[in-house]
């Protein structure tokens, strides 16, 4: 059976949904082994067991977090070699993709990013050119490295739980020599709202909000949604850059995307047009966002959004 190595970086005290998705996919492809970086909490160990992981690897050094990417790739390459893994799975975060990039060179392995599904023979599926094509691609090398987009696999525990053994992997000497060092780190305050990349519903606002994100936030909270934004809104400083959806922001694929006061430029569409249902509210009937909206409202968002919020609250009682 193929060995599938899953990289899980700093899970903290509980595995994220996207990590459970990686473990579920890994199990469908072969025997799953985790290469962990960071602390290993009891609850996380238990979750690995529930998801049928056969072994958990940990790096021989504890300072991987002090550097950017390169030493993590060196560790993961050593982990892949020591386990004989033929598939390595990582999350699709910017850092996940870069670890994958360097790992690919170290292992002479093809790297495929933005993967939404993998067949039993290792063929990966992804969409390209801002969602305009669905493609199938495959590494032509003995090992393949894949980064999986969140929300494309339903997390499912294994039929029979496992008791993973914990093994230490030697990080090659000199891995940190040519690496950039992180000299300061400021934690960001969590909003308490769902994480944008894996939220089921996203309410996003643009320049039309004119500096006031209130109506978007209130509708988001009524729906239990994450808040997104166009680049015009993040550039204006109305909301943090983390909220930006689009080509140079986050790509989201929620069940529902509500776009308010956003024109729908190609770079914005690139980040949201794979949403299941798109709702748009815009004053200008000519806005390109209406070309892709399932339900479009030509109107003033300052009237439409608060009315919808009040109606949702009323119906939910």
């Amino acid at each position: 059976m193929a060995k599938v190595l899953v990289f899980i970086d700093n899970p903290g005290t509980a595995l994220k949904k996207s990590s459970l998705e990686l473990l579920t996919l890994a199990r469908s492809l072969g025997e799953s082994v985790v290469a962990l970086n960071g602390e290993l909490h009891d609850d996380v160990t238990a979750a690995f067991g529930e998801y049928g992981v056969s072994a958990v690897l940990r790096p021989s050094v504890r300072d991987l977090n002090d550097y950017l990417v390169a030493p993590k790739a060196a560790y993961l390459a050593a982990a892949a070699q020591s386990t004989g893994a033929t598939i390595v799975l990582l999350d699709n975060s910017p850092e996940g993709k870069e670890v994958a990039a360097r790992l690919g060179i170290r292992l002479n392995a093809g790297v495929i990013t933005d993967v939404v599904g993998v067949d039993a023979d290792g063929t990966a599926h992804k969409s390209v050119l801002a969602g305009s094509y669905n493609t199938a691609c495959k590494a032509t090398t003995p090992v393949s490295v894949l980064t999986l987009k969140a929300n494309n696999v339903t997390p499912e525990p294994a039929a029979a739980p496992s008791a993973p053994e914990v093994v230490t992997v030697d990080v090659p000497v000199g891995s940190t020599d040519a690496a950039a060092r992180i000299t300061a780190r400021e934690q960001k305050v969590a909003s308490g709202r769902p994480d944008l990349t894996d939220a089921r519903i996203v309410v996003a606002g643009g320049r039309g909000l004119d500096g006031d994100f209130g109506p978007v936030e209130e509708l988001a909270d009524a729906l239990g949604a994450a808040v997104g934004a166009s680049r015009a809104a993040t550039d204006a400083g109305w909301i943090s850059h983390d909220a930006q959806v689009g080509q140079t922001g986050k790509t989201v694929s929620p069940q529902l995307y509500i776009s308010a006061g956003i024109s729908g430029a190609i770079q914005q569409k690139a980040g949201m047009q794979t949403a299941k249902v798109i709702v748009a509210v815009n004053k200008d009937a000519e806005s390109p966002v209406f070309e892709i909206a399932d339900f479009g409202i030509v109107g003033d968002l300052f009237d439409v959004l608060p009315q919808a919020t009040a109606e949702i609250k009323k119906r939910k009682g």
Binding site: K97, A130, H241, E311
Partner: protein, 266 residues
Amino acid sequence: MKIIVLVKHVPDAQFDRHLNGEGYTTDRDESILSELDEYALEAALQLAEARGGSKAGNQVIALSMGPAGAVNSVKKSLQMGATEGVHLTDAALAGSDAAATSLALSAAVRYLNQDAPVDLIITGMASTDGETSLVPAQLAERLGLPQVTFASSLDVDGGRLVARRDADTSSETVEAALPALVSVTDQINEPRYPNFKGIIAAKRKTITTLSLADIGVDPAQVGHAGSWTAVTNAEERPPRTAGTIITDEGDAGIKLVDFLAAQKLL
């Protein structure tokens, strides 16, 4: 300082883009300098200018790998202010994936390193066609350089660079010794437009054309043959079609909630 900026010639995203032919490669008609590489070029120009510009010996070399038309991206880079241009072009390069691209680019960088060492390689955060962000990290790995990716600010001081980057849960300050590779986001600056003076000056600047033979790369290592991934199928997604559009007559908020309820999204 000697800075190389990677500039990619990509299909203009304002038009429909297509995958064609063997291995479903991107149709490169109507291509332009990738917008995201303009930020890289601007960052390089600012570093060079802060050190006295080309008069003080600072070089900003725009390097593009691509078919004949890619020279236009090099030309635009020269118009914006790059001091010289390099166009790596060879029929065998067509269809290269990130691994093969980074291999060819690493050989080109080594070639340019011969007369005077390169201090810094600056790239955009991703290409606007492949969108993988793999090439900068793979190039850094192949050259054994520290990489500082997704920099939203960049400063160089005495052989070290200091950058800021924004991760999901934190903002970081990072440092690396030169030579290094940096990819910059679209937050880092406002790229300049080529002005008349720049356009005239560009005509006198040199563009060096390099082939695979010049940089010592075996054609079998690049292109479809040398790539480590292959596209086995590509299907155009049916474009999204517009649904119902209504004009607010004072009750659109309620109609919106009706729609959500009907879609079982409440």
